[in-house]
């Protein structure tokens, strides 16, 4: 028996091309005769466009054309919002690819320039003269929903794009009115800049003879991009080919279809030559979606003995100047439904108000709604503990849902698939040495040193999701995946998937699933993705869904092949099918082990088809469409230990312990990598990241000089542990792990810092916890 490939932390199959610089990302691809597009962008957050003069730009060397919204006319339809939350009085204001008469955020496109060189295109864009009439702007979502705020879209009254209510307000009031203890806090979930290291890019090539458009772009979901590009250009979907080549991270920011992809497509159709656009980082910060941006008014009710009774919140969620592709689903379905977390709490209520502002549009950013829910929950649990004088760990321990193996319905109506929250919780506390830490903390305080610990228990829903649920909640698509396992005559495997990984290592993980199911060496398996013409339909890589959903499709397609192979092997060996035994890629006859057919031999015979059983078709290839019956619910406990320097406000993150349960780990190294990266992304929200706007809507953190990206020296080595609770409904039991780190780490680090500051009387600081803010809070508390 060879080492089992499933569960082995093998090296990634995608790495040889990445460590040598041979991988080709969108901007690396060149086409002869390509024109470069630069976009003239609004310098104002809110303004009427009075006039546009492009004559000087048009006269410049190398410039082929300058186009405005008037030139496009009805050549491009507005960009659609594709998550239409029902029963929320949703308004979907028009989102033209180039602004028509009015700009609504800094960076809103006003005109495009096509030139033979990217430097010249940018020069010409700078030479387009736009006369604006500036209007008052509003950035804060709560302010934008208030009286007298400037109206951003004429057809979105009061700037309120939707109002979504979850739960029964009166029932919630009754719980809160009767509770021993109610704690409350205004929580600011600051805007974050996703910052995939590869900026977005798009290149379109239209062939007038065949009327086919090929679009290379930085996409997490090329099939959705094809769908939308077809819709906005009017080309038939089968004449649009979208290719997501190597994609350098997404974190949600490469889910939406943006104006830029539509504009290169339109320009290529118009001019009949390839057109390319690559954003700069400054442009990325202005126009690629931002994440979070909630103002939350949160309350939690509890008994004096620490029993959690209910949570409720009013959320003002900033949508920015337009409603991005999936935006309405983020602060609603993906947020409110997580309000119970891992606890036995019986009452939940959420009113989430989507508000148009003059900021960059927001949309899904790693975790998407679930970090914002987990943060408020964990923050309030700590507040309850403080109020009743109980150890926050005891409060959590008392309220954790006990272990369950197959289905647990919670107050939000979700049915969690499986979990053993207490096991992960106790394991993490053991790893951290919780009891010892509390003693150290006391003695450190006596020396004037401030240590703190934050403990987060979480669960989350991912592996999005059953399509029926998607339809019921207004998602304008399915959420199944499909896959084809194709074996060549020589016994090599091509696995074609509709999802579109962009850094997750799925070429390796998914190959390990096939290797486990069929016994092919993992090096003989190629996972092919990202090209709508080569791959079967799929809805994309986001929501921690590729391993759970695509992985299930591949496992099931592999099992179909195995069934076929078993029948064919029996036929070839003149044995009864029931007498065929399978092990490690070999089919043998029970009792005569010398009689065997390898999977490769069977594949060859299936292709030759010289001697097939009655009724069996030739070939060795199977496809599977897989629609998950439920979400998957990974869970765990994260713990952070910090020391805060009370004289400077500087936070030292000393230890970080993460115990996560994502079911059986296919490749533990890849799982660990997802957790490491997620933890840093979430911890950085607590510690340093935050998009800052001026009152008139200028993004002040518009480059990496001003926006605090997490760096290597801000973090310790992470201490990871795991428990393994398989998902009962999944063919190989796995749950998603792409977002857990981000979901758990923000409250963990935040609560650790506030724990350290408790002796100093500090009870609340808006994120991010920069040293300046921490220092000021200490001074205020002392005063």
């Amino acid at each position: 028996m060879t080492t089992r490939i499933f569960g082995s932390g093998i090296k990634r199959r995608e790495d040889p091309r990445l460590i040598t610089g041979e991988a080709r990302y969108t901007d690396d691809i060149k086409l002869p005769g390509v024109l470069h597009m630069a976009v003239v962008r609004s310098p104002y957050a809110h303004a009427n466009i009075v006039s546009i003069d492009s004559s000087a730009a048009e006269a410049m060397d190398g410039v082929v054309a300058v186009y405005t919204s008037d030139d496009i006319g009805d050549g491009l339809a507005g960009l659609p919002t594709a998550w239409l939350i029902p029963d929320s009085d949703l308004k979907t204001p028009e989102h033209p690819a180039l602004a028509k008469g009015k700009v609504r955020y800094v960076g809103d496109g006003v005109a495009i320039v096509l030139a033979d060189d990217r430097y010249r295109a940018q020069d010409a864009a700078d030479a387009v003269v736009v006369d604006y009439e500036e209007l008052p702007a509003v950035i804060d979502p709560e302010e934008a929903a208030g009286e007298g705020a400037p109206l951003i879209h004429d057809d979105v009254e009061g700037n309120i794009a939707f109002r979504w209510v979850m739960g029964d307000r009166e029932a919630s009031d009754a719980v809160f009115d009767a509770a021993d203890v109610v704690v409350s806090e205004r929580i600011l979930q600051q805007r974050l800049l996703p910052t995939a290291m590869e900026p977005r890019a798009a290149m379109a090539q239209y062939n007038p003879a065949t009327q086919e458009l090929t679009l290379w772009c930085t996409s997490q979901n090329p099939h959705i991009h094809r769908f939308i590009i077809s819709a906005v250009t009017g080309l038939n979907e089968n004449k649009v080919r979208v290719i997501a080549p190597e994609v350098g991270g997404g974190f949600g920011s490469k889910i939406p279809c943006y104006p830029d992809e539509a504009l290169v497509s339109w320009a290529s159709i118009k001019l009949g030559v390839p057109v390319k656009w690559t954003e700069t980082r400054s442009e990325n910060y202005l126009i690629t979606i931002h994440g979070r941006d909630h103002v939350q008014h949160v309350e939690m009710a509890a008994s004096n003995d620490g029993t959690l009774l209910g949570v409720r919140a009013t959320v003002y969620a900033g949508m920015g100047g337009y409603l991005s592709t999936a935006a309405p689903g983020i602060p609603t379905i993906l947020h409110g439904l997580l309000y119970v977390g891992p606890y036995t709490m019986g009452s939940v209520f959420c009113e989430s108000i989507g508000v148009m502002t003059n900021g960059t549009p927001t949309d899904a950013y790693r975790g998407a709604g679930r970090p914002e829910a987990t943060f408020l929950l964990e923050r309030m649990v700590d507040n309850v503990a403080r109020k009743i004088g109980m150890d926050p760990v005891e409060v959590r321990r008392k309220n954790l849902i006990p272990a369950f193996e197959d289905g647990y319905e919670v107050a939000t109506t979700l049915i969690y698939d499986s979990g053993d929250y207490p096991a992960a919780f106790e394991k993490a506390l053991d790893m951290a040495g919780y009891g010892d830490f509390r003693r150290q903390q006391k003695s450190a305080e006596a020396d004037g040193r401030y240590l703190g610990i934050g403990v987060t228990a979480y669960t989350e829903m991912c592996g999005l999701g059953p399509s029926q649920v998607a339809g019921a909640v207004g998602f304008q698509g399915g959420l199944w995946e499909s896959a084809t396992v194709r074996v060549t005559p020589t016994g090599k495997v091509q696995a074609l998937i509709g999802a579109s990984p962009h850094g997750q290592g799925s070429e390796t993980t998914l190959a390990q699933i096939i290797a486990e199911e069929l016994g092919f060496p993992v090096d003989d398996i190629e996972v092919i993705h990202g090209d709508t013409t080569e791959t079967p339909m799929g809805w994309g890589t986001y929501g921690s869904r590729t391993t759970p959903v695509t992985g299930a499709a591949l496992a099931q397609a592999s099992r179909k092949l195995k069934d076929k192979a078993r029948v064919l092997a029996a036929h070839l060996m003149e044995a009864n099918v029931d007498d065929i035994e399978y092990a490690d890629g070999s089919f043998s006859v029970k009792g005569s082990p010398d009689q065997a057919q390898s999977i490769q031999e069977v594949a060859l015979m299936a292709h030759l088809a010289w001697n097939m059983p009655e009724g069996m078709d030739p070939g060795f290839e199977e496809s599977q469409f897989y629609d998950p019956p439920n979400f998957v619910y990974p869970f765990g406990t994260h713990i952070a230990i910090v020391e805060v320097d009370a004289e400077t406000g500087v936070i030292d993150l000393q230890r970080y312990i993460a115990v996560d349960d994502c079911g059986p780990q296919i490749n533990p190294e890849i799982v660990a990598g997802q957790i490491h990266g997620g933890v840093v992304q979430g911890a950085a929200q607590a510690l340093c990241e935050g998009a800052i706007y001026s009152d008139d809507g200028q993004l002040l953190t518009g480059s990496m000089m001003d926006y605090c990206m997490p760096k290597a020296d801000m973090f310790p080595n992470f201490e990871l542990g795991e428990t393994v609770t398989p998902s009962p409904h999944h063919p190989v039991g796995v749950k998603g792990v792409g977002e857990t780190g981000t979901i758990a780490s923000t409250p963990t680090v935040y609560n650790a810092v506030l724990d350290a500051l408790a002796p100093l009387g500090v009870t609340q600081i808006d994120m991010p916890l920069t040293s300046a803010k921490v220092w000021s809070a200490i001074q205020s508390a002392r005063a």
Binding site: D15, L18, I19, A196, R281, G503, G673, M704, A712, N717
Partner: protein, 155 residues
Amino acid sequence: MQVAITVNGVVHERDVDPRTLLVHFLREELDLTGTKIGCDTSQCGACTVHLDGKVLKSCTLLAVQADGAEVTTIEGLAENGEHHPMQTAFWENHGLQCGYCTPGMIMASAAFVRDNPGASEGEIRHYLEGNICRCTGYHNIVKAVKQVADAAAGA
């Protein structure tokens, strides 16, 4: 302007627009697209190359300033068809995910370890401040660099 720049051992003579950044020269003129662009402000380090043996962010230099220099990019790091030890260490330690920061990260780390064999974890983390990764949380990058640093100290 005429320039002659040796890149990965080959001399390239070109007539370039004086404002062309070295990174654009490498990517557009020479089609060496392994060197990436991740910011406009020299923070991210995705464009890191070696210039006359020193670590350099190639977005901070004009191509004309590199006239007569020897440049090594990620494509030129391997020798005799063998990965550089830093490339191997990144692969073995899962020191990359999306791969976009990786060429710059490897170029910076290779020069750092060459000059600082036996560097400590703290020194590595401090040095890597000039290279930003959004995927890995740095944990496995630090592990990879430490592996090469330890091996270099032992040699």
